[in-house]
Amino acid sequence: MAKMSIADALKSAIAEEMRANPAVYCIGEDEDIPGGMGGAFTVTKGLADEFGSKRVINTPISEILIAGVCVGSSMMGMRPVADLQYGDFLFCMMDQIVNQAAKMCYMSGGKVHVPMVMRAPCGASNRGAQHAQSLESYFTHVPGLKVICPSTSYDAKGLMKEAIRDDNPVIVFEHKLLYGSKRKEKDAIDTAGDVPDGDYTIPFGKAAIRREGKDITIVANLLMSYKAQEAATILAKEGIECEVIDPRTLVPFDYETVVESVRKTGRLMIVHEDNYNCGWGAQVASYFAENEIFLLDAPISRVAAYDTPVPFSPPLENYVIPSKERIIEAARRLMKA
């Protein structure tokens, strides 16, 4: 057991999988340049010292190449783990992710499969609109992809190992303010936590209950799972007990754990940093509207980033991204509904 940041937990997972399986390799821009950063957020820094530059591959700034090479090599038995530096760059490789990786198994009638991992740092962090987005919902919409979003060190290692062993393309959203990497981020949250030394995996599709409560179920991922817990601490002083659920993986999604919680609370709030319009919370809300509406004692509440590009100016960014204050207000309204 060691106390580790998410960045180090991810690195530890990748290194253990690379030791165990020669098919696993890392690829991306600035992956491991001596004197460089190790991707943009230090996750791959130092891996080339152990595994060499043939298994920690530095690429040109060519996102189509990176994604396509992952598709092609994974069909031949390799297990690439690509570092995208910023999730926003996923759009530069969209054809390879959506038309190629996601559809190859299906179009071939199951004759080929594509076990690749795309690591996409996400979230607003005072970098302006093109290095800030939370893009989970785009990819939850694509059949054939799996989408995961670890928010603790323990989950980061267990889910990353599971992703590398999965036989399908997995997009991993990693929040910049949760990494806890050496590269200091303003407003970062210290997520350093206990991580077992040895091998363990966390199955996809199992949510984690971060806090128990009887009044409101709050489903929140990544940074928002922390904001929701902060809000819950304050709300508890007013006598409002929130149950905070971190879905951990969005595809597959653990509806069962959320349903069981709402059965107890009768109230549901969904919080994400992804935009409001068609964000993944809309899918969860519609699931309840279709299947479990009679469990609800109040309308479903959604707290999400406003439908704007992410602004740079810190006060504007803080305004657009959901804050604990917005969650608290929404919770008070829910209790009055």
Partner: protein, 327 residues
Amino acid sequence: MKKMPEKKKALGMYERMYLIRKYEERIYYLFLEGIMPGTIHQSTGQEACAVGMLYDLRLDDYMASTHRPAGHDLAKGVSLRSMMCEMFGKADGCCNGKGGAMHTGDVAVGALTANAIVGGNLPIAAGVALAYQMQNKDNVVVSFFGDGATNEGSFHETLNGAAIWKLPVIFVCENNLYSATTSIKITCNKENVAADRAGSYNIPAEVVDGNDVLAVNEAAARAINRARKGDGPTILELKTYRHGGHSRNDACGYRPKEEEKLWFSRDPVTMFRALILEKSLVGEEELLTIEKRIEDDIDEAVEYAKNAPFPALETAMTDVYWNGGKN
């Protein structure tokens, strides 16, 4: 300069070219009859490119094709029956009916699922080559694309990557002069749209008569040899011509009649047939026997495919995620 191969290889190449020609003709008539679903992008006229490039590949060397894949697939050895079944959307198709005309292929014979996004297969082929390299194999992969793909970002990103990593991949541009209906002359300032750009990436390139199967085969041998030795990628630009339109409803109103006449007079199948007879490899009778057998095989495949069952509806829900190959 071009050397006629020994009889077995020459006839083997001719058989595949004739198979592709007759297969595409039959598909065309099945469409006119209205009994085949979907659309078609035919390779008639480009048979020498497919056969010349692929004839000497090993079974476990890979080939990546495009929205016009039938010639490549048949040349690489995908079974005629499974191709025909796929065209009809039947369960016995090479993709179990889930791929269709633009996605045929069978990795069992090294034919990757064909790619209907222009330029889409280039980085994937580079990935296949990277895997070979990492696995210390001496295999090679051939990536086919059209003239239009040379204006895609994926072309340039992949060429650069393949060059710096010395990947065992052969980039084959089948330049049939038109990207769908647009002349390549108005979308690129280079005459040799692929080969003239090779220098930018320090990749050796050749411009080849794509209607001369022996010329293609000899250029292929040089490129395959380079790749197998670990000397990296080659670009081959094969000048060729579609006999038909881009797709089902294209009557080619944009092509000058004189240009068509010139190219049709250089039909790759007719030219190679005449050469075989001229060199007295076999007589007319023997060729007719071979041709009759191929036509019978196609008749059989069409009958089989027409009568074969459609996939069970529940199979629409499988293979979205891999199930360990249990289907």
